[in-house]
């Protein structure tokens, strides 16, 4: 099996704090791989080391066979990144931004097609400041796709979004997945991981404590004799909220 991303024994230390403590995992081509964990577990730091944004203390990352430390420029050509708190220039329209980002890869992109992918065609001439939270995140994904990346990295893409906007974003991510793109996504929403990921790694205190498909992890837990305090609930509050405010997309 050929891995498109191989991470082995990755470490990052800030003074006394070991933020990432020997993390290893592999991602197969076409897979959606989730990194789950509470805030401060080291998810973002791990991602940033893979994305060439942070120096690696020790360990190794191979992206499509390229060593991230040795050939960061080549790796940058191959990856698409949505940063947790990334924003864009103020006074350029979405179309202009996508064209400019395309140019940084030496590509002349079809901005409208990318906006279609993120369902933002009608905002083509808007500035980023005029977008809602959900629209910003969808644009951020469109900007990460300008180079048709081998691996797409999404760092907590739905944090802070309301349920409708989150579901809308899931729809966008699922479509990208259906096109066969490899995606690495971090989240602290279990539901999101279950919905989107083929496989998840659960991270805590800088270490990976489990790595398997979601259903497999649930099966393992049940096999250990775990029993949830069970009340038969056929719906939860989120279902009520969505029933009352509508599943359909908002101008979010």
């Amino acid at each position: 099996m050929s891995y498109v991303l191989e991470v082995s024994a990755l470490k990052k230390r800030y003074g006394d704090l070991v933020a990432v403590d020997g993390v290893s995992f592999n991602v197969t081509r076409g897979e959606v791989f989730g990194i789950l964990g509470p805030n401060g577990a080291g998810k973002t730091t791990t991602l940033e080391m893979i994305e060439t944004l942070r120096p690696i203390d020790s360990g190794r990352v191979l992206l499509d066979g390229l060593d991230v430390q040795q050939e960061p420029q080549k790796v940058k050509q191959l990856i698409g990144v949505q940063l947790q708190a990334s924003s864009f220039f103020d006074k350029l329209s979405l179309t202009e931004l996508l064209l400019l980002f395309g140019e940084t890869y030496g590509r002349q992109v079809d901005a409208l097609a990318l906006l279609d992918e993120a369902e933002l065609r009608d905002k083509a001439k808007s500035y980023v400041v005029q977008l809602s939270g959900g629209q910003k995140q969808r644009f951020s994904i469109a900007a990460a796709l300008v180079n048709d990346p081998v691996v797409l990295f999404l760092d907590e893409p739905t944090t802070g979004l309301d349920p409708q906007a989150r579901r809308h974003l899931w729809g966008v991510i699922k479509r990208i997945r259906s096109e066969g793109k490899t995606i690495v996504i971090t989240t602290h929403y279990m539901e999101e991981a279950e919905e989107l990921c083929d496989r998840v790694a659960i991270m805590d205190r800088g270490k990976i404590v489990a790595d398997a498909p979601p259903q497999e992890l649930i099966r393992q837990l049940l096999a250990k004799g775990f029993k949830k305090e069970r009340v038969e609930r056929l719906a939860n509050l989120e279902d009520v909220f969505l029933d009352l405010t509508g599943h359909s997309l908002r101008e979010d």
Binding site: L53, K76, V81, S86, S87, D90, K91, T104, Y105, G106
Partner: protein, 352 residues
């Protein structure tokens, strides 16, 4: 190369679309010139003389009235003396009741001790008027002055001010524009997002710098143009030379801006630092007032301010028609500052 051009085009577009930036770099400096154009700093103006005439005779007053250098007010003695004390009069002449055009009367002249230049000039004119009475009576032979009008360039305060204001706005847009601009790009994660693209960081810096230098050239052109059209600027220099000196100054102040954005984490940190650097120069580099009024020890420092070199250089070119050879000392000063500030900028600038 294509990317460089695209980046430049994008950053120019962004600048043009930023209304505040246009106001700061173009409109505000011109507005300052407009305001200052109402202030009359030029020459003595006229001497305020109060006259208290106790005599029925008005021969002397009639001789004095047409003299343009004097601004005459007639009044009662107590009133005029009170005005002298308030500083509204430079001199008050009291003509006694017994005064006759011919005679040996003694006229009293009160002088304002705070205005030595005006009182001295006023006193000479008044004495001359009294002598005139004697000449008229006696038809004595005398030397005559044959006058001839010569047109001078008659430089005004605006001629002094406008090149200074150009220098000032180059400094302000360099230091504040770059420092604030980059701190915001940094703080909001925009630079970080660019770092995950294969773009070379230098290309981005080059695009930013060239955009700002282009804006700077436009600034110089517009300010000189507006000066000539609206403010009677006596511009006799070469606009090309103005731009050369302006660009060199631009490099110095842009570098300071980059250095500041490197050591500051937020806009709140940039503002005081930028002010600490620019305010002393704004006050002491001869932008608004000639530095010749500064005490000697102040010159030791202010002579070497980059803004002093820039303002002096631009001013010599604009109103004296100086060539680049003439402003070599200023060019040299700015070149030395460029090297120093560029070095600091490279050391201090941070992408994150």
């Amino acid at each position: 190369m294509r990317l460089k051009i695209k980046l430049m085009a994008a950053s120019f577009k962004m600048f043009i679309r930023q209304r505040e930036a246009i106001i700061w770099t173009m409109i505000l400096p011109l507005f300052m010139v407009f305001l200052f154009s109402f202030v009359k700093f030029d020459g003595l103006g006229h001497v305020n003389v109060g006259i208290v005439n106790h005599s029925p005779d008005s021969t002397l007053v009639n001789i004095l009235k047409p003299i343009q250098a004097l601004k005459i007010s007639m009044g009662r003695e107590d009133d005029e003396l009170a005005r002298l004390k308030k500083g509204e009069r430079a001199l008050v002449l009291v003509i006694p009741a017994s005064f006759q055009p011919i005679g040996q009367d003694s006229l009293t002249l009160y002088l304002n001790a705070e205005k030595p230049q005006e009182t001295q000039a006023g006193k000479l004119i008044l004495q001359r008027a009294l002598d005139e009475l004697v000449f008229r009576q006696n038809h004595l032979p005398r030397h005559a002055l044959r006058t001839e009008l010569v047109n001078s360039r008659n430089l005004t305060y605006i001629d002094f001010l406008l090149p200074g204001i150009i220098a000032m706005s180059i400094m302000q847009s360099g230091v504040f524009g770059v420092a604030f601009g980059f701190v915001i790009l940094k703080k909001r994660g925009i630079l970080r997002r660019l770092l995950v693209t294969p773009m070379k960081t230098n290309d981005f810096i080059i695009a930013q710098v060239s955009t700002r230098l282009l804006v700077l050239m436009t600034q110089v052109l517009i300010m000189v143009g507006a000066g000539v059209l609206f403010f009677h600027l006596h511009f006799i220099g070469s606009i090309f030379n103005m731009i050369i000196v302006g660009l060199l100054g631009g490099v110095v102040f842009l570098s300071i801006g980059f250095a500041l954005s490197g050591i500051s984490k937020s806009e709140d940190q940039v503002a005081p630092l930028a002010n600490v650097i620019t305010l002393p120069m704004l006050m002491l580099s001869g932008v608004f007032f000639s530095r010749s009024n500064l005490p000697g020890f102040a010159h030791v420092v202010t002579d070497f301010f980059p803004l002093t070199y820039l303002a002096d250089g631009l001013r010599s070119i604009a109103i004296e028609g100086a060539t680049l050879t003439d402003v070599f000392p200023q060019l040299l000063g700015l070149a030395v500052w460029s090297v120093i500030t560029l070095f600091i900028a490279v050391k201090a600038f941070r992408w994150e």
